[in-house]
């Protein structure tokens, strides 16, 4: 039972709670580094290492870190791992370091890492946090490599820098550019929604109205409630308009 739970933690990050395709987190590095499979794989791997390490440390220190300064503490810990990864890449894999450029340093502000620290690591033990980091990291890595494969093969006619001869005549260069990135990203999200539809679809979390500056205006407890009411109001207005039109016709 415990083993199943551990496995579920890992699988949830890869499929059910995939950070890129379900949670829509880490969009910036996803779009920026998926022009080539090598850079996407490198970014995924670097982020996974930072995610696992930061999750472990944050989980281990969860009882020591005061609630009021937890975010600065998390940022310092994440930044430390990112800097270490940067130094190691620059020293031993300089070509990957040059390829990732500024996006390597931007892992510090990657919302997947900070998000998992805040949502999971600070509430769970070290082992579970490490497994969550592995699952989320692999989920991020898989999504990046999948997207990069589509963009590089169809957009550049190559895979991991190896030219595919027959693809040279049918490649779609726009896929390697920003608009192509958004297009592929959108299609993959749609595909993911379709695949999970039979299992009840992707459950979007509804958030409370705490912290919403307009909360006092709508007087509701959640945005979903507002949306439902708005939809009802719209339906009523449409019905009223139809009745009014019908009455006008009769008068004429």
């Amino acid at each position: 039972m415990t083993n199943n739970r551990k496995l579920m933690i890992v699988l949830r990050g890869i499929i059910m709670d995939n950070p890129v395709l379900i949670l829509i987190l880490g969009t910036c590095p996803t779009l920026a580094t998926t022009t080539s499979v090598i850079s996407a794989f490198s970014m995924g791997l670097a982020a996974t290492v930072v995610l696992v390490c930061s999750n472990i440390v944050i989980s281990a220190l969860r009882k020591i870190i005061p609630e009021t300064v937890r975010i600065p503490c998390y940022i310092v810990i994440i930044a430390a791992f990112v800097t270490a990864v940067q130094m190691l890449l620059q020293a031993f894999l300089p070509s990957i370091y040059d390829m990732l450029g500024v996006y390597l340093a931007l892992i510090v502000v990657n919302c997947i890492i900070l998000g998992r620290a805040e949502m999971f690591a600070r509430k769970n033990n070290v082992l579970d946090s490490a497994l969550d980091g592995i699952g989320m990291g692999i989920g991020f890595l898989v999504a990046l490599v999948l997207m990069a494969t589509i963009r590089e093969v169809l957009g550049n006619g190559s895979f991991a820098g190896i030219v595919i001869p027959f693809m040279q005549y049918i490649k779609i260069p726009v896929l390697t550019q920003a608009p192509g990135g958004f297009l592929v990203y959108g299609i993959l999200i749609a595909l993911m929604n379709k695949l999970t539809e039979k299992k009840g679809g992707v459950k979007r979390k509804s958030f409370s109205c705490d912290g919403c500056p307009s909360a006092h205006l709508c007087n509701k407890t959640s945005c979903s409630e507002v949306t439902e009411l708005a939809a009802e109001a719209l339906d009523t207005a449409v019905e009223n308009k139809e009745i009014e039109n019908a009455e006008n016709k009769e008068v004429v």
């Binding site: 300064v69 600065p72 310092v76 430390a80 800097t83 270490a84 130094m87």
Partner: protein, 411 residues
């Protein structure tokens, strides 16, 4: 209360301290590797042009080095110099390695906007050349006026000269133009004066060229420069008696050569002949506008009366050209602009009407282009329109000369 305020800061401070310590440990291991990698990357370009080089050290480039040299490195196997020259376009940066024997070990272009592929061809062409053996090499399809090939040659020569200077030797790094100016100044005992070639309106016997400035003249006989001030006195020391009399006679002729414009010209003179002058000794000077590349290919079709280049032709009483000069032009850089160089004028000097023929009477873009090796007076290879314009302008001058001398022009 105090404890609760202090703890968060303390914990955050401790975390920062531990993180800083751990990062310093990582840095301790990675910094030497990163430094070595950076150094290797920087040396990779240097090693490429000097394969046997090691322990590269940058050397100071002083004023003794050719002006085009921007950087220099000393290595165990020789020297590497970086030159910035102007080819067909500015910004041609070339790196060149010179081995300990003074031979070119390798050439690489760092930055270039030249014709595609030209650099790759020329990079390997000079390997093995020394300062004594190096000669201009033209890239495929380039003409003798090719600025790219010339720029490459200048850069290579500068690297070879720099290697001699860096090794403690001395070498004359002046350009031919600077040498000419220095020789003229030395002959006249002046400093920093600018000399321009005197457009000869008189045939000066025994004189190869005359350069003038606001301080006087420099007469050239072979390789000897003799200065004459504005009072007509020879100021150069150690001049042989033969040369003295030759220069004195030439100066008398030169200073007495006044031009009088012919106000009325006989009918039938080509409208491109704008002005005609006659000298006291009966020589004629014609100012002619010529239709070169710019006018013939861009302006003429649109009916615009612009884009000409202007030349002066002096013809002696014997019907031979004394001198020609391009006074202004907008011909193509690296091609047609050869029409404003002394070696081009030399083709016309001493030639009569029969010697000059128009090689391509009606040039067009589809054929009849003048190629390298075409024989004739006034030819600039690959510049058919400029060549034709110049030849036609000179022929117009000869035609005007014939009309004036046969019918008699009025002063």
């Amino acid at each position: 209360m105090k404890k609760s305020n202090l703890m968060p800061s303390l914990v955050l401070g401790c975390i920062c301290l531990v993180v800083a310590l751990l990062l310093s440990v990582v840095n301790m291991f990675t910094a030497p590797v990163i430094e070595a990698a950076n150094s290797a990357a920087a040396n990779a370009a240097l090693t490429e042009v000097l394969p046997n080089g090691s322990n590269f050290e940058e050397i100071e480039i002083t004023a003794d080095y050719p002006a085009v040299v921007t950087k220099g490195y000393k290595a165990d196997g020789g020297y590497v110099f970086q030159m910035s020259v102007v080819g067909y376009k500015p910004g041609l940066v070339i790196m060149c390695g010179v081995d300990t024997e003074g031979k070119i070990a390798g050439v690489k272009h760092i930055q270039s906007s030249e014709t595609y592929g030209m650099e790759a061809e020329l990079n390997g062409a000079y390997v093995g050349d020394t300062l004594d053996s190096v000669e201009l090499i033209l890239a495929t399809g380039a003409t003798s006026g090719s600025k790219s090939s010339k720029a490459y040659f200048d850069a290579i020569k500068a690297a070879l000269q720099s290697a001699v200077i860096a090794a403690g030797g001395s070498v004359d790094v002046r350009t031919p133009e600077q040498i000419l100016q220095d020789n003229c100044n030395a002959a006249l005992g002046t400093e920093g004066k600018t000399f321009t070639r005197w457009f000869a309106t008189e045939a000066l016997s025994g004189i190869d060229a005359v350069y003038e400035s606001d301080s006087g003249y420099a007469f050239v006989i072979g390789e000897i420069f003799i200065g004459v001030n504005l009072s007509g006195e020879i100021v150069t020391q150690d001049v042989s008696l033969d040369n003295t009399s030759t220069v004195t006679d030439a100066y008398t002729l030169l200073s007495g050569s006044s031009l009088t414009e012919l106000t009325t010209l006989p009918e039938g003179i080509d409208s491109k002949v704008e002005k005609v002058y006659v000298t006291a000794s009966g020589n004629y000077v014609f100012e002619v506008k010529a239709s070169g590349y710019k006018h013939a290919t861009n302006m003429e079709f649109a009916g615009i009366d612009e884009g000409y280049f202007f030349i002066k032709v002096s013809i002696g009483a014997d019907g031979k050209i004394i001198d020609v000069l391009t006074t202004s032009h907008s011909e193509s850089s690296g091609f047609g602009d050869a029409c404003a160089k002394d070696e081009y004028y030399e083709q016309y000097r001493g030639k009569g009407d029969a010697d000059v023929t128009v090689t391509v009477p009606s040039p067009d873009f589809h054929g009849d282009l003048i190629a390298d090796g075409t024989q004739g007076v006034g030819i600039i290879a690959s510049s058919t329109f400029t060549t034709t314009g110049y030849q036609k302008a000179v022929k117009s001058a000869f035609a005007a000369f014939e009309l004036i001398t046969n019918e008699g022009g009025n002063e």
